[in-house]
Every structure is written in structure tokens, then in C-alpha cells.
Amino acid sequence: MPPSTAHPSAPLVALRGIGKSFPSRVRALAGLDLEVRPGEFVALLGPSGCGKSTVLRIIAGLTKPSEGVVEWDKATTVRKGETRLGYVFQEPTLMPWASVFDNVALPLKLKRMRKARRIERVEVALDRVGLGAFRRAYPRELSGGMRMRVSIARALVTEPQILLMDEPFAALDEITRFKLNEDLLQTWDAMRTTIVFVTHSVFESVYLANRILVMAARPGRISTEVVIDTPYPRGRSFRTSPEYVGFCRRASEALAVAMAVGGQS
């Protein structure tokens, strides 16, 4: 993959020559290279089953690659026990037995942060996703969209340098998804953390990201890159602009090409 010209700074994390085979002999990934620079919003776009989630898991260290290396920027090495990483799963993945507050506080509790500081951080994170009033509610008392907000607040509470999001809004209805897209952009704008966002929605990836990496399947690899150079903040009007439509067409075409090379699913 040619290095992007949009961000000349050193990558925060780089995957080089990553391959992953599962015990069932399925080659999920092969020869995958990608770089994520500080402050970027990168979308990984691809058909289902192309190994997008596996890429995220490898970045997070939850899965070991069979080949290749994950290189972190020297200054920001993530050691075990440290949490410079936030992860948002496809499902909200909340503890059903704990209140919203306790769910968001979990990462800090695991780090044994002192109570006073913990409460303060959790409150900031909850306000950020607009759930300050729901701290005592239990997950099952919330709607799907609100649960996902809790999940995002939990990922943000450690103020991670990089936020990994694995199709977080795929299970939500369109209205909720649009709203959460907008809110996520606002939050990102305010925090300027780095985000890697996995999605199979062309529209979502164009709206959110400043760089889309289109993946091909069987085995999973990066096929092309589409740079979305529309400046932030991107309001609701961006969704209906000719510029947006143009980007969507380009991303769709790139996806079609990737799917043609990658074989039929």
C-alpha cells in the first residue's frame, strides 16, 4: 500500500505483512499492511467475512498474528496493564448486573484508580455521550442506542490514544445510527483521539472517516485506499451534498473491485 500523503507524521501503529490462519486452515488474512497515524479517523470497509474484525483484534493484541508484526510508536508502547487502547464491540457488551456508572467505571477499577478520581472521570465520560442522567440505570433498562453509548463511554473513560470500533452501530436502526455517527464525530472532534472504525457500510465510512481502507476477502488484505478530504466538522448537510455522493460512488466502486478480486462470497 502506498503511504498516504495526507498525514506525513510517524504512524501510531503499523501492521506489516500480517497473516492469520485459523486452526481450521482458513486463511483469514494474508500480506496485510496498514498504518494508522495519530489523530486519524480510519475506516476499514469490506464485505462481511473479509477479516476486518480480525485486524482490530490483532491491533488490540487479543489475537496473535500468524505472520508479520504489529509496530507501535516507540513513545506510546502499550504494555500489559496499561490501557492506551479503547475497544467497542459489535454488541454493547455491558455487564448486565452492574449499573451504567459501574459499567463505565470498570476499566478504571481494573486499573485500581482511586475512587475520587474515578468518579470524576466516569462523570465526564457519561456527560460526553449524553447519559449523565442515567448513571443508576441498568443496561437492560436502556434502548439499544443508549447501551452503545454506554459502551463508547466505557471505551473513552481511560482517555485512550486509539479507539478501535468493530461495527458498533451495525445492529442499530438507521435513525439511531445517524445520530450516533454525528455524536461520535463531535466527540472525536473534541478529543482528537485516533479511531479505527470497522464497517460494512459505504455511507457510514464516507461520513465518518478521513481515510477509508477497502478490504478484499479470502484471504483478507487491503485492496485500496480512498481519502475523504472533506474538513471536519461535517454536519448533517454533508450527508446530502454532491461531494458526499461522489465519495460514496468512489468507495462503492472500490468495494466492488475488491469484491471481484476477492472472490464471491
Binding site: L62, T83, Y87, M95, P96, W97, L106, P107, L110
Partner: protein, 265 residues
């Protein structure tokens, strides 16, 4: 609870009482009409009179049996949960000991009780019987519960570098809670059975004063009404234990677990 269940609620209380009334009336009628002597089959009225007349003796025996049951139950509850945690932490221990837990469970307790009485003082033997019968469902259920952890939540904990102890305390044990309570509900009834079995075995050896012993003793004396009265008490004790544990289960899980939630229709 759906509409139909709600509408039927009075019926669910009235119908069993009606059946009880009809059954008792039929019983009474048959005994009177056929002139069955009380040492063959006493009528309900006589059983009640016997119960009132012998109440001091019977209630004292009840206290003995309930105490044993409770002690056996507590031992089973703590022992079962403790063993399950141990097995969960060390596969080595699980492989070594689990088969013997199964052996204890599948060997009929009635056959084991006389042997226990040979080697242990009577009170200890009765307690061990109650424990043997009751601990296995707690162990099996807790083991299942500790393994039924949401995979994404487990990933999240490892992402934040949670220690073994933190994973056990904040993830595995709370996830297992509904399973543990399920096991306890079974164990409650079983510890009563264990206590009764041991008392009967001990009774024939000539000692003991629990309710089961009263039944055996009354049988020798052909005091059939008292046998029925003692049986009635045992039965009520079982029902009481079941509902008490159901209540505890409900109180502990009502905020979050599906099994304990009232659904709006």
C-alpha cells in the same frame, strides 16, 4: 407476565386449594364409609388431632431436622461454590477431583448412610449425608456458570489487564450468580432428603430424634396417624425451603436477570 398469565393468577391459587379440599373430603368419606380402622388408614381429621396432641414432640423433632438440613445446606452451598471456584482456577485439580464428586453423587445415599454411621458420630454422619446429596448440584451449576462468561466481556477484561482475581470477582462470579442460585434451589430440597435418609438409617440403629426418626418409630408402634402428621410436617418444610430460596433468588436477580424480571405486556 403476559395477559393470560395475569388473568389466570387467581385460578392458579384457587384450583390447587380446591383439589386439596376435594381430595381430603374424598379421603374422609372413604375412611368413614368403609369403616377403615385408623391403624390402616386414619382420616384427615384424626391426623390433625394427632398433630395437635403431639405437637410438642413433633415440633421439637422438626427443629432437629430443620437444623440438620440447614447445616447441611450451608455446607453444601459454600463447599459447592468453593470447589467450583477451585476447579475453575486449576484444571489440574478439576481433572483430579471432579470424577470423585460424580461418584459421590451417583452412589445412592441410602446405601452410604449406614456406613457413615459406623465411622462417624451420629450428628456428623447425618450432616455428611445432607452435604453429600446437596453439594453436587451447587458444584455442577456453579462450574457451568463460571464458564458461561460472555466472550467479549472476557476479552475486555484481558484488554484492560485484569488480574485473575479481578476476573473471578468482577466477571466470573457475577456471571455465575443465576446459575449458583439455581443450584442452591435444588440443593435446598436435597439437603432435606439427605437429612431424612440419614435419620432413618440412624433411627434403625436406635438413636436420633428428628422427624424422620419419629416416622420410623411411629411405624414400629403402629401409630399411623402420627406417621402422617410427621410426614405432613416434612412436606411443609420442603415447600418452605423451596419458596424461601425462590424468594432469595428473586431478590438477588430482579434488577438484571431475565429469569427474575416481570415483563410488561
Amino acid at each position: 407476565m403476559n395477559v393470560r398469565e395475569r388473568r389466570d393468577r387467581p385460578l392458579r391459587i384457587v384450583m390447587p386449594i380446591l383439589v386439596l379440599g376435594l381430595g381430603l373430603a374424598a379421603w374422609e368419606a372413604v375412611v368413614r364409609y368403609k369403616h377403615i380402622p385408623p391403624y390402616v388408614l386414619p382420616d384427615p381429621e384424626l391426623i390433625w388431632q394427632t398433630f395437635v396432641a403431639d405437637r410438642e414432640l413433633l415440633l421439637r423433632s422438626l427443629l432437629v431436622t430443620v437444623t440438620t438440613t440447614l447445616e447441611g445446606f450451608l455446607l453444601a452451598a459454600f463447599g459447592g461454590v468453593f470447589l467450583a471456584i477451585l476447579f475453575n482456577q486449576s484444571r489440574f485439580l478439576e481433572y483430579s477431583l471432579y470424577p470423585y464428586a460424580v461418584v459421590l453423587q451417583v452412589t445412592p445415599i441410602v446405601a452410604v448412610a449406614p456406613l457413615l454411621l459406623v465411622y462417624l458420630p451420629q450428628h456428623a454422619a447425618v450432616l455428611v449425608c445432607a452435604w453429600i446429596v446437596a453439594f453436587f448440584p451447587v458444584l455442577a451449576n456453579t462450574t457451568l456458570g463460571l464458564r458461561s462468561v460472555d466472550h467479549n466481556l472476557a476479552d475486555l477484561f484481558s484488554l484492560y489487564g485484569a488480574s485473575r482475581w479481578q476476573i473471578l470477582r468482577r466477571l466470573k462470579l457475577p456471571s455465575a450468580r443465576p446459575y449458583i442460585f439455581g443450584g442452591l434451589r435444588i440443593a435446598g430440597g436435597l439437603s432435606l432428603i439427605g437429612a431424612v435418609v440419614a435419620e432413618i438409617a440412624a433411627g434403625s440403629a436406635g438413636a436420633g430424634s428428628g422427624l424422620a426418626y419419629r416416622i420410623v418409630e411411629s411405624g414400629y408402634r403402629l401409630n399411623i396417624p402420627r406417621m402422617f402428621a410427621a410426614l405432613l410436617l416434612l412436606s411443609l418444610t420442603g415447600i418452605g425451603i423451596f419458596y424461601l430460596l425462590s424468594l432469595v433468588n428473586y431478590l438477588a436477580l430482579r434488577r438484571w436477570h431475565e429469569s427474575a424480571l416481570a415483563r410488561e405486556s
